[in-house]
Point group: D2
Chain length 343, copies 4
Amino acid sequence: MQAICKAQPGVGLTVREVPEPSVGRGEVLVRVARSSICGTDLHIYQWDAWASSRLKPPLIVGHEFCGYVEAVGADVTNVQVGDFVAAESHIVCGTCKPCRLGQAHACINTRILGVDVDGGFAPYVVIPASNACKTDPSLPPEVATVQEPLGNAVHTVSAADVRGATVLITGCGAIGLFSIGVAKALGAARVIATEVRPYRAELAQRMGADAVLNPATDDALGYLLKTTDGLGVDVALEMSGHPDSLELITHAIRPGGEVCLLGLFGQPVKVDLNALIFKGVEIHAIIGRRLFHTWELMQSLLYSGALDVRPAITHVMPWREYEDAFERMASGLSGKIVLDWEA
Amino acid sequence: MQAICKAQPGVGLTVREVPEPSVGRGEVLVRVARSSICGTDLHIYQWDAWASSRLKPPLIVGHEFCGYVEAVGADVTNVQVGDFVAAESHIVCGTCKPCRLGQAHACINTRILGVDVDGGFAPYVVIPASNACKTDPSLPPEVATVQEPLGNAVHTVSAADVRGATVLITGCGAIGLFSIGVAKALGAARVIATEVRPYRAELAQRMGADAVLNPATDDALGYLLKTTDGLGVDVALEMSGHPDSLELITHAIRPGGEVCLLGLFGQPVKVDLNALIFKGVEIHAIIGRRLFHTWELMQSLLYSGALDVRPAITHVMPWREYEDAFERMASGLSGKIVLDWEA
Amino acid sequence: MQAICKAQPGVGLTVREVPEPSVGRGEVLVRVARSSICGTDLHIYQWDAWASSRLKPPLIVGHEFCGYVEAVGADVTNVQVGDFVAAESHIVCGTCKPCRLGQAHACINTRILGVDVDGGFAPYVVIPASNACKTDPSLPPEVATVQEPLGNAVHTVSAADVRGATVLITGCGAIGLFSIGVAKALGAARVIATEVRPYRAELAQRMGADAVLNPATDDALGYLLKTTDGLGVDVALEMSGHPDSLELITHAIRPGGEVCLLGLFGQPVKVDLNALIFKGVEIHAIIGRRLFHTWELMQSLLYSGALDVRPAITHVMPWREYEDAFERMASGLSGKIVLDWEA
Amino acid sequence: MQAICKAQPGVGLTVREVPEPSVGRGEVLVRVARSSICGTDLHIYQWDAWASSRLKPPLIVGHEFCGYVEAVGADVTNVQVGDFVAAESHIVCGTCKPCRLGQAHACINTRILGVDVDGGFAPYVVIPASNACKTDPSLPPEVATVQEPLGNAVHTVSAADVRGATVLITGCGAIGLFSIGVAKALGAARVIATEVRPYRAELAQRMGADAVLNPATDDALGYLLKTTDGLGVDVALEMSGHPDSLELITHAIRPGGEVCLLGLFGQPVKVDLNALIFKGVEIHAIIGRRLFHTWELMQSLLYSGALDVRPAITHVMPWREYEDAFERMASGLSGKIVLDWEA
């Protein structure tokens, strides 16, 4: 079969002929329907410091995908041949202390599909059965494939109490965009997003943001304080990885508020901790998805129609056009980009 | 009466003759038995940037004290003349959003005794009745007076789940020392403290620390990882306000762990947020005491004997020796220093 | 002024000429705009065992109302003359242990407007300022007056985790009806209500219930299990006070689910506790409103438009027609009935 | 090998020669060191209605045991040959909704060792590797074997907030006795137990109860109210399965308090729900152990020495004396009884 690979160290990805994988005990073979591109994939493409230190080429990349179970190994009970599934990308050990405490998202032995082991930018992929999350086939496949990053959004938003809250979301990449919809679905009264790119600002509005500010040109802090009678927002979700966003949040969060950190920062960042301490703020640093609480909640919201993330999915392209897809991704002129493996 | 005052802007404190205060509606007049010196009082003494921007001399200082109710104003129902009380130092408004949400510790209109209004380094002080916390007279007065800072410790420790936990406490000032005892009383399996001063390290041991590390000379991180099978500590309480402590915590906290921040930092501090995000850490920034949940819990622990903070109270001095007391405080060769107003 | 009173022990209510109340310290005088009738008012009208043991006539009844601040006593800071307010009906002491722990809804010294002290079925009423909850005047007065019972619904629904949940609500009196909307606003995926009266079943549907079952004629348990793949519902809210509803819930709640109890039962009721224990169910017994967390959340949902309770408000009548109103209320052919004091 | 079996339906247990079990994939073979007798085993012995409807003889009974890993099947990573382990008795599916939500204690497919599959009243037993909980060999084997029921106590106590609390425990069977120690270790200020048998009342005192009341002869409610200034206890743990205990709790719990239900009742029981509703009580119905949060917490408390349950372990007998052991168990003149398989 032909798959999108990091063939050797260095910039770029290439299509290579690789053997179809075969299923082992506790595993399932998935015929991929759609996969989607994450910011992490862009780092892998560009072979940045993190990527070059972590990946061991050759490797099939891609950790966001959905498809159909083609075969199951021994002892698989949670899915059957023919089931429509999406991948949880974190393979966890189940035996370390975080796993035993119900914090498998922080498993110390996590291996990631498409990063540490072969991923889903391929017509077929083998994954542990417990990573195959059954999905109602009525869910459009371009939605089903984004459940992994959507799960990041659901995990982040649900970590705070957004019920009736004024929520600030800094950064409208795909997960930021998703979070707008999730916050609304979970009872947020008002969602205010920040985004420098007009393209994504418009997507934010289509996802339901009550206001979208450009932190480069608007007085974001002034707006946020004014709209909250000088008090500040109840909840802030940092999804940009930009130090300026963090500083905005430090000033804009209300006393007693909650901050969730999902965006990764290029390097250690200066934080005015005193400001957060004087305000008695709770800070939730978020990684992955709660296994599998996040999936249950996410699918419930998707199935009931309370959450519709389609406005944030801007492109569905035949997988062979992946170079175009990565270029577009790098340009910032996209929401989530989906690759079609059935095209 | 004679009281310890910041008479005018500048370094130092002076004894001045001031009129005895009289009680108004909803207020109580307290005859002070003991007061105690906080790090904040030292800043006020030294007239640092914070103090000079916040205080409006002349002012009677002191926000940690206990004593006897001498008179009550109209509409006071929670205490009676003769009651033994300790002061909650934060006067809160009760009507702002944090107050209404049960987060009065983060009240946006907080005024602090001895900082914004006259305090308790005096033979008599008038405070709002709701700030007078009834205390069992069997509690030694040198313990009763430290309930305010002890409440910081109780608030901080109880914000995390220390049950069965390995707890790291960075910094063994008075609140750090108190926290050792509180963590033990609330079910911590092991408490490891860091402290550079041998004097305070010894107090930490007397408060029940299982180990006390000197971060300047010991390989604290190595010790913490080794003693937790490489995983890291379950809970870390930052009580030093030192950036190195924060960095230690960043590396020493286990995936899925909890960090509480109480110590104030001189300025914005660099934090490796990615490390905390990858580990999915919860961070609680702590201010004041939960009103009055913290007081109820603290007094319950004190009365039952589960908590004994006397090893951390190293000096009880006649109030007239306050200059000596501040000098000793500045030297670092003390735990909590108590001033006796009945001597 | 003329007010609706329980003039003496016995059945019925009467209009009596009473003096206009005058405002004291910490109190406000409210010119009533609308009041609404609670099931408790019906018990008072009918003078049942509870009412005759609790009320001390003569008394102006009514604990659900809104209006305009006409005058404020000394020391009132939270509202001003002219403000539009609704009443929190529970006057709490602020000093008992539950109050100090942030559980003022369980205050041991609670006095209730219209039950223990004069209430709001009158053109004017004096209440403690802290019971006057400022309300945006853009909220229709017939909605503003029902905030007290709506707060019961908000407290009950928000006590459980309804995010993405299948929620069962047994009983569609006013609070049950309100709860349908609240559950939806807070992210419930599906709300299934039970109600024997067709009139109220229709209101339930207008409030957004996904299904309304008649427990007298439908196989409610069968339906609930079938629709949840045999597992049971995630959350159940008991709002009927009927033993059969409780039994239904005992069987219909899923392992690990949550049950909220708000409806009062005529007498002790048999419960199959083993079934709840084997399923490890959490049970929240709910009284009043969390002060004032519930009000903050409720008003946020109302103002944002996430919650619209108007379908459950079926009648607005001039206050002089209160006998008709009580008759209709007793007939069960109503949702919430509002009395207009400006008519 | 010779094992204690329910050979056929009917009263009693018999020693039978059975084949040594052999280990399969994902399983471990345990050489049993000690096992202990649960009230459930007594029901099985006596062949009550529950036992006769659930058990399918022939079956090796016993679900509390510890021992040494003799062999491991394929794919076992959490334990090795030679490890000292204790058994988690609930075999859960890992794929049902409660399991996926982190509520495996409420797994809908639970099978129980010694009830649904062969148990540990035998020299050797095969269990799923994930049910083998590694235990520090320094823990005395008579303590290691009781971790299963001790886990019930830890789960129950830790479900409520006992920090600084006055805790009522009704019923001093083994789990009630354990709970006294657990509550103290987790910061309870005061533990008051009820027990009708003097033998067990004395054990309760040795476990650290501050008071032990005989509900048959003492005015338990009067005592509890008096000792809490008329307010009631903060937390109540029902561990007797007796309706009178539940009634006591209903009256003795304070407004805003928490009740945990662990004891099973012979039949549906009348509850004054209104009393609980008016007081806004939280009720936690408890089953099993949180997998494996409870084990982590329990072992941490045992290893640190914060918890010592040995006073509640009254008998260690050679396993061949099991008839005597069951007789003693039935007499009520015992705490936990341990069978020694190495004797």
